[in-house]
């Protein structure tokens, strides 16, 4: 009589019966399972996928060339021919926004990869070797961190000049301290675990240890930072372009499109509305996705 059946138990029994074959449960699979249950994260993922598709197929989606000027159709309000309207040169804002996705996403991707390889690597080294290596790297990062990220980026752009590679370099340097710090923390967290100590005790080589144990285990956290940083770099890039340091016209970067529309804010607010919307949606999507990943990889944090 000890066993008592409740409706909740039946529900779970049914759920288990529905799951046909048992699946080998790996951490990544567990994370995916948690991720799948998280509605907001799925929304984020779908939005990101759509944006990536827009970026990849910009030339098919955009009805006009992003820099084609049409003096017969200047400053038009959104209409059937020009969904988002046109700017003062008669350029189609919809096409510019679509190509903007390509520029913004890919520059952000490059920025993030660069940041991960510079700051991230420094952080991993600092976290892994500890001691003097850690002290030196982190003290230097302290110095970098005393300069606000965006100021650092602007200074570097002013040295290197406007342009995409320059911008990537600027964002990379500017984000180095944050990246290093986060990755170091991720490595330290793994490093403190018993299984690392035990593999050290049985004499696993250092390189093997970093590649085989530390990086896979810290990978979850790093992916979270990676996605989060995509949003940060898009925001930084557009802020810089907007105040005139960063990319140069006529690149259809969203911040620059906004800058173009600045003068016509009162008369034609739509010129700023759509690019602003694109920035918002993109950053929002990345943040939703990043947040979902955080919950999936690190269930304790929720």
């Amino acid at each position: 009589m000890a066993k008592m059946y409740t409706p909740e138990m039946e529900k779970i029994a049914k759920k288990k019966a529905r799951r046909k074959k048992p699946i080998n449960s790996t951490p990544a699979y567990e994370a995916w399972k948690r991720f799948r249950r998280n509605k907001t994260a799925i929304v984020g993922l779908v939005m990101v996928c759509i944006l990536v598709l827009i970026a990849l197929f910009a030339n098919f989606i955009a009805p006009y060339d992003y820099q084609a000027q049409d003096y017969t159709a200047m400053m038009q309000k959104p209409n059937a021919a020009h969904l988002f309207g046109t700017d003062q040169f008669g350029r189609d804002i919809f096409s510019r926004c679509v190509y903007g996705a390509r520029y913004s996403l890919f520059i952000a991707l490059f920025c993030t990869i660069a940041a991960l390889f510079s700051g991230g690597l420094l952080g991993i080294l600092a976290g892994y070797f500890g001691g003097i290596v850690d002290t030196v790297i982190m003290r230097v990062m302290d110095i970098f961190q005393s300069i606000p990220m965006i100021m650092m980026a602007m200074c570097i752009v002013s040295v290197l000049g406007n342009g995409i590679p320059q911008l990537v370099a600027a964002v990379m340097f500017a984000s180095m301290p944050t990246m290093a710090r986060n990755n170091r923390a991720a490595i330290l967290r793994v490093r403190g675990c018993d299984y690392i100590e035990s593999s050290e005790a049985i004499g696993v080589s250092q390189i093997k240890m970093i590649i085989k144990h530390m990086i896979p285990n810290a990978a979850g956290v790093m992916i979270i930072y990676f996605v989060g940083f995509l949003a940060v770099s898009i925001m930084m890039m557009s802020s810089m372009s907007y105040i005139g340091v960063g990319l140069a016209a006529p690149t259809p970067e969203w911040g620059l499109i906004l800058n173009d529309g600045k003068a016509y804010m009162t008369s034609s607010p739509y010129m700023m509305f759509f690019p602003a919307l694109m920035i918002m949606i993109t950053c929002f999507a990345f943040n939703l996705l990043g947040d979902g990943l955080r919950d999936a990889f690190d269930p304790k944090s929720k």
Partner: protein, 326 residues
């Protein structure tokens, strides 16, 4: 305790040296001749050469850097602006007040809203309130400050003429910049408050308080909040750095004559003494505020006091034993 503070203040020195070195290196790589920038395009080559000699630009970089540091240490001289010829410090100091006010206001707005939302969302965890709060705060995190600024300008200045769209001639000019920077940091405070509240609420001492028969609201107020605020206070330092960065952009957008706009203008004009001075002062302010934040923890968390004091004593002891051994 005092020893700790002195140690932290001394720590400023390498930071300042490092920051100035970074900017100095950037300066040397900047294309264009500063002497030409000062004198304009009409100046003759002789005049430019003379100016270069006067500014010490022909010396090796390391000597220039040494002279610069010497100037700061001995005379409090951060150099002269290329553009106006005035001492940088005298240009920055009056702007510091404006920027400080905006940043502090922004931090206050962000922290108050963020902490409140975080508490609400932690207490109502896994309900629709929680999700709503998280989505809203994430939305504000996702929007660059200048876009928020544009929207607010459009609503309050262009459409309704309630607030000025730029300048700080009236006190109401401060409102929009503060609000924009503040809103963008709300998300980070909300998130930290929420997770630290949730963590604290699952602690054993909360269960002890419940076992005492304490009410939920009192548990939140007297037991959870103070413990949960420790990581939140810690995050103020980092957020402040972001807020200062945000202020640089927004002062430019709103045309507010603060340090941020000064630095942005100087960067675009390649006016390096001003950039250097601004960077140093911002770094100094940031470091000092971080120190103040750290000291304020000791007031929140009694555990830290003894670790800091014990830490100090221990290091002294270690030194003594080391000296003996030698």
């Amino acid at each position: 305790m005092i020893k700790y503070i002195i140690k932290r203040i001394l720590y400023l020195i390498p930071i300042m040296l490092g920051v100035s070195a970074i900017i100095f290196i950037l300066k040397t790589f900047t294309p264009g001749d500063p002497a030409r920038v000062i004198l304009g395009n009409d100046a003759t080559q002789e005049q430019v050469d003379a100016k270069r000699e006067e500014l010490g630009l022909n010396d090796p970089v390391i000597i220039q850097y040494g002279n610069y540091i010497k100037g700061i240490v001995t005379r409090g001289d951060f150099g002269d602006s290329y553009r106006t010829g005035n001492p940088v410090l005298s240009e920055i100091l009056p702007r510091l007040k404006t920027s400080g006010l905006i940043t502090l206001g922004a931090v206050a707005i962000g922290a108050v809203i963020g902490v409140l939302l975080g508490i609400i969302s932690a207490l109502r965890k896994y309900t629709w309130v929680d999700s709503l709060v998280l989505v809203i705060s994430m939305f504000f995190q996702s929007v660059p400050e200048f876009v928020v600024a544009l929207v607010l300008i459009f609503i309050f200045a262009v459409n309704y003429h309630l607030l000025p769209s730029s300048g700080i001639e009236t006190a109401s000019g401060y409102i929009l910049p503060m609000l924009c920077i503040g809103l963008s940091s709300v998300a980070s405070y909300t998130r930290i408050t929420r997770s630290s509240m949730l963590e604290v609420l699952s602690e054993d001492y909360i269960r002890t308080a419940k076992a005492k028969g304490q009410t939920d609201s009192n548990i939140t107020k007297h037991h959870a909040l103070r413990n949960a605020m420790i990581p939140v206070a810690q995050s103020i330092g980092t957020n402040l750095g972001n807020s200062i960065g945000g202020a640089m952009v927004l002062e430019t957008v709103f045309g507010v004559p603060g340090v941020g706009k000064y630095i942005v203008d100087s960067i675009t004009q390649r006016n390096y003494p001003s950039v250097l001075g601004g960077a140093l002062i911002i770094a100094m302010v940031l470091t000092i505020i971080n120190l103040l934040v750290d000291i304020s923890f000791i007031l929140i968390d009694p555990r830290l006091k003894s670790t800091i004091i014990a830490g100090g004593k221990k290091s002294k002891k270690v030194k003594e034993t080391a000296a003996k051994a030698a």
